[in-house]
């Protein structure tokens, strides 16, 4: 891969570079492998091939096959191996190739990774970062697109990070891997090719901090992953109608930024949460509850949810019918404005 950027942490004003999210994650992994000899990267096809999304491209060549290596096609074994490595002082960064294939590893993730620190009274922390290409937007076959964030956020012991673009992808991954707690780092597949000028920085916000992507005054759109981009599109269209929408990228789904949500919605008085996952018991319900608890007196309308439907995740060409569309989000905004 082309050497594109300077190390961000050596200069407060790192140069601005054009980088896709794939390349930003690759860059973060390279910097982590460089700074910490205990970081290990492994998974199906992450070594010689460089990953199906080319995220680990060139890393095995640079760091050798003892630190960046291919595993058998066995997700439960990948996560089980991460547990054993973590107990022996390593800092594993396993990849499960697609989110649908996290299901075979759920026992290891929930019963071992998430609980080991608790079970051992802190004697065996699990500094594991599971990299999980997630969500939809590439019209993949069944099992290759899911939205598992509510499942992971509901599991005590796990942290959940979801970057929405290259700059956050870089700094959130640094934070995740350096954390001594296990983190599920969900990479929105639809944004892998999102290429934009970025300044790669050391993380400045603590874990669990949201980000205002676009300030506005009439309502707050709350989203994560690829839906952040969708909400920015909606906000730009709404601006043509004289409606000024704020877009809040949650970034961390566990811990969730209740204070950041409250600060934004207290100002705008209206909130619409947008996610790809099905409606029922989705994380939108958690966001709506937090906003209602913290902003009850300020709210001008009930919190609206725009989500996928309560159906199995549709494969291929049905996907655009399933994912929240611009019009569905605009309708929800109108409902809050007219309430």
């Amino acid at each position: 891969m082309t050497e594109l950027i300077e190390r961000a942490d050596t200069a407060a004003d790192a140069p601005v570079v054009e980088l896709s999210m794939q390349q930003a994650i690759n860059r973060a992994l390279r910097d982590l492998l460089t700074e910490d000899p205990e970081v290990l990267v492994f998974g199906e096809d992450v070594g010689a091939l460089g990953g199906v999304f080319r995220v680990t491209d060139g890393l095995q060549k640079e760091f050798g096959d003892k630190r960046v290596f291919d595993t058998p096609l066995a997700e439960s074994a990948i996560m089980g191996m991460a547990v054993g490595l973590a107990m022996n002082g390593w800092r594993p960064v396993p990849e499960l190739q697609f989110d649908g294939f996290a299901y075979p590893a759920i026992d290891q993730i929930v019963n071992q990774v998430a609980r080991m620190n608790y079970r051992t009274r802190g004697a065996a922390p699990m500094p594991i970062t599971l990299r999980l290409p997630s969500f939809g937007g590439i019209q993949a076959p069944e099992h290759h697109g899911e939205s598992l964030e509510a499942l992971f956020a509901h599991t005590p012991g796990l942290k959940v990070a979801v970057p929405s673009g290259p700059a956050d992808a870089y700094s959130l991954l640094l934070q995740s891997v350096r954390s001594d707690d296990p983190v599920v780092y969900m990479e929105p597949k639809a944004r892998y090719w999102d290429r934009r000028p970025v300044r790669l920085r050391e993380p400045s916000d603590p874990i669990g901090t949201s980000r205002i992507v676009r300030p506005g005054r009439h309502a707050t759109l709350i989203a994560w992953g690829a839906m952040v981009h969708r909400c920015v599109q909606v906000a730009e269209l709404a601006a043509e109608d004289g409606v000024d929408l704020e877009v809040l990228d949650l970034r961390w789904l566990k811990p969730i930024d209740a204070a950041g949500l409250a600060a934004s919605v207290s100002r705008t008085r209206r909130a619409v949460v947008v996610h790809e996952a099905p409606l029922t018991a989705g994380l939108g319900a958690e966001v709506a509850a937090l906003v209602t608890e913290n902003c009850f007196r300020d709210l001008a309308a009930p919190v609206q949810r725009v989500t996928g439907f309560d159906v199995p995740y549709p494969a291929g060409p049905l996907e655009p019918q399933y994912l929240p569309t611009i019009d569905r989000v605009l309708f929800a905004v109108q409902r809050t404005l007219e309430y």
Partner: protein
């Protein structure tokens, strides 16, 4: 744009065929061919077929003479092709999403009075 060589190997042309005989080359070294343009006619135990070019590029080497029997998987032809752009483009499951220039919408908003 950088150039790189790509070698096309003889694919299995039926179910479990192990070889094919080259009947006639329809390209020569130095030719610039389009993707899907006729490349070579070969004969298997089932039929004679024309294999289309899998890439656009310049032919730099033909690996078999006419009448020669080529095992499946052996090199057939080497092309010089445009190297992939610096952004690593994966062969992925699914498709790379297209970025719409200006997203379409039908719903229009009315600003709140407050």
């Amino acid at each position: 744009m950088a150039q790189e060589n790509f070698t096309f190997t003889l694919p299995d042309l039926g179910e479990g065929l192990v070889e094919a005989t080259v009947l006639e080359w329809q390209v020569a070294v130095g030719d610039v061919v389009e993707r899907n343009a006729p490349l070579v006619e070969v004969e298997t135990t089932k039929s004679a077929v024309v294999i289309p070019s899998p890439k656009a590029g310049r032919v730099v080497e033909l690996h078999a003479e006419e009448e020669q029997v080529v095992p499946v998987g052996d090199p057939l032809v080497t092309f010089e092709v445009e190297a992939a752009a610096d952004a690593p483009q994966a062969g992925i499951v699914g498709r790379v999403p297209a970025e719409e220039a200006r997203p379409a919408r039908r719903v229009r908003l009315r600003p709140p009075s407050d």
